[in-house]
Symmetry: C2
Subunit: 246 residues, 2 copies
DNA sequence: CGAACCTTTGAGCGTCCTCAACCTGCGTGG
DNA sequence: CCACGCAGGTTGAGGACGCTCAAAGGTTCG
C-alpha cells in the first residue's frame, strides 16, 4: 500500500458552515491552567491557535491518565457539547492561545448546517480512532514501543501543520506528561528515552525530538499513520469552520 | 449525587428515522467467526439481536487488544460508515444473531433525517466515552481494579437490557477475552480472579459472574457508571432505529 | 470417546515501580 | 547580584506485579 507524500500546502477547501461570531472570544492560558474541568456543566468549545494542551482523567488514588494531546489547529471539547458536560479535564501544557466558542452557538450552527454536522461527526470519529490506537498502545505494547509510537504520532500530526520537519519537532512535554499518557512512571520513561537514544533511534533532549532512523523506529513501534485520517481536517478560519480535504 | 434506580421498562420512545427495509438481512454467526474484518472496505452496520461480540485490533507481534464488547441491542460498525473502511475487526464471542444493514442505506437514512444523524452522533460519542474509560482502566489501574471495573461495566450495561439481576450475570467470555481486553495475560487473569474470589468480592465460574459485595468492589475499581450515559440508548426495532430516553 | 478448548497451578524471570538522592536550569525575591 | 526555591531530569537499589513456559485437570462438543 503506497502512500503519497502529504502536501499540506495544496488543500482544496470547502466551507461547511459558519459559527455566529457574537460569542467568540480570544483567550490565553498559562501552563498548568485548565481550559475545561471534568464535570463542568456548560463547557465551551475551543480552537487551539497556539500552544499544546492535553485531555486527561484523574483517578481516586491520585493517578492521572492523559488521553490525548491537542496541537495548534485542533478543536477541543467537541464531545462536551453533545453530553452537556465534560467527562474529562483539559489543561494547558504550554502558553496557549485559543478561540472560545459558546457551546450553544456551536450546537445551533450544527443544527442549521447538515454539512457542518457531518464534519463534526467525522471529527469526533477521527478522535475516537486516535483514542483507540492509544488504547492498543497502552494495552499491548512494551515501554519502548509505546514511547516510540507516541512520538511518531505527534510528529505525523505536527508535520501536517507545518510544525515539524523531516528530522523531528520541538516538543514542550515533560517526561511526566509522557508517563501519564503511556501508563508508565516518569522514572521509567527517562530510562526508556535513554535506551532509545543509545540505540540511535530517537533523541528527546532540550525540548526537541529528533528521529535518527525514522524507518526502523516506525517498524519498532508498529506505527501506521492511517488511523489519523489526516486526509481531511476540521479547521477554523475567521468566523468559519472549514473542512479541508487533500 | 444520588442516582435514581434505572427503570428499563418505562422508556418513552421517540422514533428518529427509518432505514430502508430493502437491504436488511438477518444473519447468524458462530463463535469465532468475523462480522467485520479490519481494513474491509464496504463494511456493513449490524444490530446485535442476540449473543456477544467484541471489537479488536491485532498487532504485528501477534498480540490482540480488545477494545470493547458488544451486547444484545448494541449497534456495531457505525464508525465504519463514516470512514468507508473498518479500522478494527469484530468477532463473535458466542452464537450471534444480528440484523445487517447496508452501509449505504444507513448513510442515506442519516442524510435524510437530522434527528437520526443526531442520534448516531450521540451513539458514537457515547462509544468514545466508553473507550476512553477503557484507556484509563488499562493505563492506570492494577490488575484487580481493571478486572473488577470491566465486570462492573458489563453488569451495568446488561442490567439496563434486563439481561442481568442485582447479584450478577451470565458471562460467556473466556479468560483469554478478559486478558486481551485488559492488557494482561490469561494466566494472570486467572490468578486475579482467584484473588477476587478469595476476597469475597466477585466470583466468575462456569460462565456466571456473581458479585458478593458490589459496593466495596465498586469502590475498589473506582467505578462510576456515569460514563456509560445509559439514560439514552440508540435501539433497533423492526424497520426503524429508535432512540430511547428515560 | 477423543479432541479441542479452557482453566488452574507452579516455577522462574523480566519489566516496570517506588523510594531516594543528586544535578541542572531558571525565575523570584532579598 | 547572589541566594534560594522549584520544577524537571538522571541515576541507583530493591522489590512487586505481571509475564512466559510448562504441565495437568476439567468441560464441551462433534
Amino acid at each position: 500500500m503506497t502512500r503519497e507524500p502529504s502536501k499540506p500546502a495544496s488543500f482544496a477547501q470547502n466551507d461547511l458552515g459558519t459559527i455566529g461570531g457574537a460569542h467568540r472570544l480570544q483567550r490565553r492560558f498559562s501552563p498548568g491552567s485548565e481550559l475545561i474541568h471534568e464535570g463542568q456543566l456548560k463547557a465551551s468549545v475551543f480552537v487551539l491557535l497556539g500552544g499544546w494542551t492535553f485531555s486527561y482523567k484523574m483517578l481516586p488514588n491520585g493517578g492521572r491518565q492523559i488521553m490525548d494531546f491537542q496541537l495548534p489547529g485542533d478543536f477541543l471539547g467537541l464531545r462536551g457539547i453533545i453530553f452537556g458536560s465534560a467527562d474529562h479535564s483539559i489543561e494547558a501544557a504550554t502558553h496557549v492561545e485559543a478561540s472560545q466558542l459558546a457551546a450553544s452557538d456551536v450546537r445551533d450552527a450544527i443544527g442549521n448546517s447538515p454539512r457542518l454536522a457531518s464534519a463534526v461527526l467525522r471529527a469526533i470519529a477521527r478522535n475516537e480512532a486516535m483514542v483507540l490506537e492509544h488504547l492498543v498502545n497502552v494495552g499491548r505494547r512494551s515501554g519502548e514501543e509505546r514511547l516510540a509510537h507516541l512520538l511518531l504520532e505527534l510528529h505525523a500530526r505536527l508535520k501536517l501543520r507545518g510544525l515539524a520537519d523531516k528530522k523531528g519537532f520541538d516538543c514542550p512535554l515533560t517526561q511526566f506528561h509522557l508517563a501519564d499518557a503511556l501508563g508508565l512512571s516518569a522514572v521509567h520513561v527517562n530510562r526508556v528515552l535513554r535506551h532509545l537514544r543509545e540505540a540511535a533511534l530517537v533523541t528527546f533532549q532540550n525540548g526537541r525530538v529528533d528521529f535518527d532512523n525514522i524507518d526502523s523506529i516506525q517498524q519498532l513501534a508498529g506505527f501506521d499513520a492511517a488511523y489519523l485520517h489526516q486526509n481531511e481536517t476540521l479547521r477554523h478560519s475567521g468566523s468559519e469552520i472549514l473542512i479541508s480535504m487533500q
